[in-house]
């Protein structure tokens, strides 16, 4: 996708469009931030000012700072950061068009970009949100469904290892509904995971087809 970045990815979830770029492992710029036993992972999530119908102020909002941390923590268990001590891995997630589920699309794109950069990771991370609208559980909610629904539960996981790296819940779900939502989300994540792998493979197979 992006030539200057070490790895990059573009992901669409319906109307939500996200681009992710990864740089590194590289030298840590404020020297005091470096860790002697592993790489630090820095993440910046940003919504571009034209990504919403009302212009969004380009200054980083409270929400963006929080989501940067959420995305970073969703990726950290997957990345083998102890392979590169005293370095930094920078992840940039830019939302081009927002229609709900930007954090899940962001995590999906960021994981792809990290893999594309050749950074060792135990598994790809895929994410999707489950919502509850009029008592019905639905997968991959958009902005309208999120605003008028009763609950919204974003979930990120490493399907190959069957491990959850991020789980949030906004609203109310009964314990039974929660279990249903979890299985529904995992089903969706597995589909996204397959698409991620296909996309990674395609970048190399396409080159192969050019010369034959």
């Amino acid at each position: 996708m992006l030539k200057n970045a070490d790895g990059s990815a573009y992901v669409e979830f319906g109307n939500t469009k996200v681009i992710a770029a990864v740089y590194g492992p590289r030298e840590v710029v404020p020297r005091h931030e470096e860790l002697t036993d592993r790489a630090i992972i820095r993440c910046r999530y940003r919504m571009l000012s034209f990504s919403t119908s009302d212009r969004k102020s380009p200054a980083p909002s409270r929400r963006e700072i929080e989501l940067s941390k959420v995305i970073r923590e969703a990726l950290e268990p997957a990345i083998l950061s102890h392979y590169y001590p005293r370095t930094a891995i920078d992840v940039f997630v830019e939302v081009l068009n927002a229609d709900g589920g930007t954090r899940t699309a962001g995590i999906t794109a960021a994981a792809l970009a990290v893999a594309d950069a050749g950074i060792p990771m135990v598994d790809l991370v895929a994410a999707v949100a489950v919502g509850k609208i009029d008592g019905v559980l639905v997968l991959d909610v958009n902005e309208l469904e999120d605003m008028f629904g009763e609950a919204d539960m974003p979930l990120a996981a490493m399907p190959g290892l069957n491990k959850i790296t991020m789980l949030q819940l906004n609203g109310v779900l009964t314990p039974q509904e929660f279990k249903q939502a979890l299985t529904l989300a995992m089903k969706g994540i597995k589909q996204i995971y397959e698409l991620q792998k296909e996309a990674l493979r395609r970048t190399y197979v396409e080159i192969g087809e050019q010369i034959v």
């Binding site: 590194g24 001590p85 050749g118 950074i119 990771m121 790809l124 493979r201 034959v212």
Partner: protein, 251 residues
């Protein structure tokens, strides 16, 4: 795209392995020179996008993994091409295209004791100079220490520098130097390949140099396809005919 290639009666199947893929084989059957596989309990998990060669030898399959992308990580004994980016009183800080900067001490470069009180270090190397050096010491807790005390090492005064993906360096050199010697022979260039993905070309004329650059870029792009050396050979011949350097195939 799978095609048998290589030396003895082995059948090779090629595919692309991705992070999270699990190879089900005894650990002894996995050849993993570049550290692409994480062994956790009884699982072998692939950690980077890599090329997986499956060779059927006798009683079982052998799995060989080569990464397709990744930054260069210094290793003791590697030859690297560096660019001086800073000068201290008695050493140079060298950019070696890795997450860690190289350190070259003046005494290591000159091969004799160096005293900053009597001499100016910038007389020998200054910012922007290109050097070929060897990594003398590296343990990840401190920056790699370089040395130029060996054959063919030292300051580079002529030639042109190109950069490729560090994981493709092995392809440019080829099996038992097959690729590099073919390139040198066909383009009449002297080629120095640094393990960090920087290559120095010393050519007699610009036409041959340009062909060599194109060929190396082609290797970088198509390194994961079988039959690379032959394809590059015909590519160079084609380019030479196009430029009127030779008339027919086979010089």
């Amino acid at each position: 795209m799978a095609k048998s290639e290589g030396s003895t009666q082995t059948i090779t199947k090629r595919s692309i392995a991705l992070p999270g893929d699990i190879i089900q084989a005894p650990p002894d059957n996995i050849i993993d020179v570049h550290n692409c596989v994480l062994k956790e309990k009884d699982l072998n998990i692939v950690t980077v996008v890599s090329l997986l060669d499956i060779e059927e030898v006798g009683e079982g399959s052998r799995y060989k993994l080569i990464p397709l992308k990744g930054r260069y990580i210094p290793k003791e004994g590697d030859v690297v091409v560096g660019i001086v980016k800073d000068v201290t009183l008695s050493s140079w800080i060298v950019d070696i295209n890795a997450p860690y900067d190289g350190v070259l001490n003046a005494s290591d470069y000159l091969g004799r004791p160096f005293s900053p009180t009597t001499e100016n270090i910038r007389k020998y190397l200054d910012i922007g100079d290109v050097i070929v050096a060897k990594i003398a010491q590296f343990d990840r807790t401190r920056n790699p220490v370089l040395t130029t005390q060996d054959k063919d090492l030292g300051k580079v005064v002529e030639g042109s520098l190109i950069e490729i993906e560090p994981s493709k360096v092995a392809r440019v050199i080829g099996k038992r130097h097959s690729m590099i010697s073919m390139l040198e022979e066909m383009t009449q260039c002297k080629i120095i390949v640094g393990n960090n993905g920087r290559i120095i070309l010393k050519c007699n004329d610009t036409e041959h140099e340009y062909i060599a650059v194109l060929a190396i870029k082609k290797i970088e792009r198509e390194s994961h396809m079988p039959g690379l050396t032959e394809r590059i050979r015909s590519f160079i011949i084609e380019e030479k005919i196009k430029r009127g350097l030779i008339k027919h195939e086979g010089e």
